[in-house]
Amino acid sequence: MLTRVRAFGAFWYDFVVGDDWVVAVGVVVAFALTYWLSHTDVPVWWIVPVAVLVLLPVSLWRLTRRGDG
């Protein structure tokens, strides 16, 4: 039973998060920061694009370094 629960969890982790958890965490942080700052007068539309500008190269660097590429 425990093995099946683990397999179920592993499937959804792989389906949603994939092979680099840093991207998933970075996306959550970027949206949380956008939501938090949206209650102020600061424009917040740029936060997610900047996160993508950082996350994509970082993730590629991590994957090529560990030889997944």
């Binding site: 389906f15 949603v16 998060v17 994939g18 092979d19 680099d20 991207v23 998933a24 996306v27 959550v28 949206f31 949380a32 956008t34 939501y35 949206s38 209650h39 424009p43 917040v44 539309w45 936060i47 997610v48 694009p49 993508v52 500008l53 996350l55 994509l56 190269p57 993730s59 590629l60 994957l63 090529t64 590429g69």
Partner: protein
């Protein structure tokens, strides 16, 4: 986003998934047993229908801003995954997705596996291979349709685009009875990765209460910007590969 862009985005994304599922079914059917393979496809479609019946009403009852934040976040994570793989393939760091090679590997593995009669299915291996292929790839199709369709308040059009993509790919697969090697899958994955990333950024940020400059006009700008950024990374990685390979080439000549 207009209806044409919604149709195109869903059609392209679902075509890629359908090509992968069709390759698996063709490999199992031609190398093992068509009857068991098609039963696996049918069982997979029944599971997918149950998931749609459960998820469809749930998704449409979520408030729009919460839905956009959740869906935008998932699309962005998915899009960055696709884009990363597409960039690595385009720059030569990862082997190109070759349906012919995948078909051969699947067919070889299928031939090597022992035949087993279980639960009234003549060939259990062919059945489970097709069942898994249809459920896993189909789940991605369902996700794409529900997220794109519900965000744009046009689930029927998203569903029509997905059905059109699946029918086109399956029809082609049945006609040629061979892997769909001529479908430009790597290019399509690159385009889909760009679209998922741009839509995920746009919807997710809107769901988090951001206001895009130019409102809906920001979406095509995001698509173009993500594409340009990804292509620039491909060019950079290719340059690094050539530069890294150069010293060893010189050593070979010497």
């Amino acid at each position: 986003m207009n209806a044409g862009a919604l149709f195109l985005a869903v059609f392209l994304a679902c075509t890629v998934e359908a090509v992968e599922a069709t390759t698996i079914v063709l490999a199992a059917g031609t190398s093992r047993d068509w009857r068991s393979a098609l039963r696996g496809v049918l069982a997979g479609l029944i599971v997918l229908a149950a998931i749609i019946a459960a998820l469809g009403p749930a998704v449409s009852s979520i408030p729009l801003s919460g839905l956009r934040l959740f869906v935008g976040g998932l699309l962005l994570v998915f899009g960055l995954q696709w884009l990363r793989k597409a960039i690595l393939r385009a720059s030569g760091y990862k082997a190109l997705h070759d349906e012919e090679q995948i078909f051969r590997a699947q067919a070889d593995a299928a031939r090597a596996a022992a035949s087993q009669n279980r639960a009234g299915v003549g060939d259990w291996y062919a059945f489970t291979l097709c069942f898994k292929g249809v459920v896993l790839e189909g789940l991605e199709v369902v996700f794409i349709v529900l997220t794109f369709g519900s965000n744009q308040h046009n689930l029927p059009l998203a569903a029509v685009a997905a059905v059109a993509a699946v029918l086109a790919v399956v029809g082609l697969g049945v006609a040629v009875r061979a892997p769909l090697a001529r479908v430009p899958e790597n290019t399509m994955k690159f385009v889909v990765g760009v679209m998922l990333t741009a839509f995920g950024m746009f919807w997710g940020a809107e769901g988090a209460h951001a206001h895009w400059p130019g409102q809906d006009a920001a979406l095509p700008v995001l698509v173009a910007a993500v594409a340009a950024f990804a292509l620039a990374i491909v060019a950079g990685l290719r340059y690094l590969r050539v530069r890294a390979a150069a010293p060893s080439d010189v050593a070979k000549v010497v």
